[in-house]
Symmetry: C2
Subunit: 353 residues, 2 copies
Amino acid sequence: MAEQTTKRKRPTIKDIARESGYSKTAVSFAFNDPSRISKKACSQILETAERLGYIPDPMARNFSLRRHLSIGFLLPQEIRYSLQNPYAQQVLLGIGSVCEKYGYTLTLIPPLNESVTEAVRNAAVDGLITMGMQVGMDIVSVMKTRLLPYVTIDGTPNEEMPSVNINDEMASYELMKTVLDFGHRNLCIISLGGDIFAEKATKMSLPQRRMEGFKKALSEVGVDLQDVPVLVSEPSLADGKLKGKEILNFNELPTCVVSMNDIVAIGCIVSWNEAGLSVPKDISIAGFDNIDEASCIMPHLTTVEQPAQEKGRLAAEALFKMIHKETLQSVHIQIPHTLIQRDSVKDLTSGQP
Amino acid sequence: MAEQTTKRKRPTIKDIARESGYSKTAVSFAFNDPSRISKKACSQILETAERLGYIPDPMARNFSLRRHLSIGFLLPQEIRYSLQNPYAQQVLLGIGSVCEKYGYTLTLIPPLNESVTEAVRNAAVDGLITMGMQVGMDIVSVMKTRLLPYVTIDGTPNEEMPSVNINDEMASYELMKTVLDFGHRNLCIISLGGDIFAEKATKMSLPQRRMEGFKKALSEVGVDLQDVPVLVSEPSLADGKLKGKEILNFNELPTCVVSMNDIVAIGCIVSWNEAGLSVPKDISIAGFDNIDEASCIMPHLTTVEQPAQEKGRLAAEALFKMIHKETLQSVHIQIPHTLIQRDSVKDLTSGQP
DNA sequence: CTGAAAGCGCTTACAG
DNA sequence: CTGAAAGCGCTTACAG
């Protein structure tokens, strides 16, 4: 008891050993494998531990066992953006539910001191989930030299890049085709940007793949992608509003805007409403992701549904398999998407919205 | 090089020392305090490290330095509920932005194996933020014996319970008063429930404090809280819908439902719309939190705005102060709320919505 | 059933 | 400027 009050330091296994009269080995067993010591020893040790306020140090324990019991989610951008985006939130939720299932914690890793590389070097995790990753990026080599298992969502699949994706090219093709079928020809595209990896992205990055889908649909009706204005927006409501305003200043207002992101599309709608425009009467818009808000906003958004939670879950399950060495080969998962036609794209061919 | 290919194990500081011809001390300094060794030694060591693919083990480093560089957010309920609730998401965002600022990671801690106590015992973090905590709960004593700094949001402030809150009693009073001023007397209250701590909650828990506010407003117009039906809902859209349906089966439909949670209120609206009712024409509803969706749904929700992000930020800032020993006294922060009157409560006194 | 001892991979006084 | 050595608090073969 005296110890408790005098020193403001946690007791260690050594203290419990001394105080209970058993060895450190015995104390360790009392907590981890009671069957290896006598009932009497166990109860005496536990009692002493209780009395001295001893709780085994998780850090020392994990260090000794060479594990963290946590997986990391590398945020693709500043935390306020990442977590503000409902799509990313759903991915997070999916990852989290798997962590819960395995009794792991989920470590959110913000770009440290503006350096993702440093963040990954220092991450105290058993595996890492990233978004939009491609081979060739610095952090990939860090993960590899750390022998840290990783899976990427919405990245560029590759031999060395385990990944979970939808068929983005196909999905975008379908989305654009719907818009074109409704007679729209005067378009504007809002692409994805703003994440930490954008700079290093190559031709086969996610925005590029979606662009390919758009291009294909456009070419089928004789429109050249080159002639369509393209804006790049961060996946946030605020930046969506900004882009919406920017579009209002175009010399010629597009009849339909196609955004790669629902949250940005919603931002556009909000800003257009503020400017007195009515959607889809005055201008149409289509989104991507089918976040909950897409069916909440008026008009309900025409978009591509992709199961964000499922993406997170599958990525996490794959990662756990790698951590537990159940799989040695690289995983490449592709899951289905669905085109959701709602009310935000006006049918120019019939005259009705 | 040969080492690299033959052993599938990460090199340690010892390998770099041997390989570079310097001591482990020197290697450590090369990474942590290059000024303590010669330029030549440093560059040789770093080069060797690069060649062997050496990255200092974060776990060993943290263990040696007795720190985790991470703070924990103990999820108040199963992860899919916690992270599905936009209010909690905003709190998380606030906490996360502060972590980012300090170069810490944010560890989401789900109730482990259904035991929060175990989760807290094992959490590899330097401090903990919880929601709805009160003294007397098991995990409080765990945090104390671990000497783990903690702050609670929406908990019950106390000498030993650093906390961040709004004035919930006052806010609820104002909300209820608004409803009553509009002439509503046939009411239904939906309280908060479903979190992991609900069982142990005492009279001064958050739902109880809000109830006190309701009671006060009700008593001012001669209504006894006892006569108002009270439902308890988990903070999820799904459970909100369920409660909405349940209310439709009441013998007498209330004229207004007062929910302690926007997401539940929105769930009610959705289920009522599905049942062919129109809000607020057929039934009114008021919420709490002012989540983004509250101004998105039709009709816009009358609610209490509480700055969720700010709560998270303040709690995290307070926690970092405790971690860095800048403050030894218990913090008790109360931040302002705002009543937001919108369109979901019908004015029975004028006849107009 | 029990315990002495090595080991996990770092950091850091301390002595030279 | 440099390095041998102790220490962080556990786990776990190993020997008795």
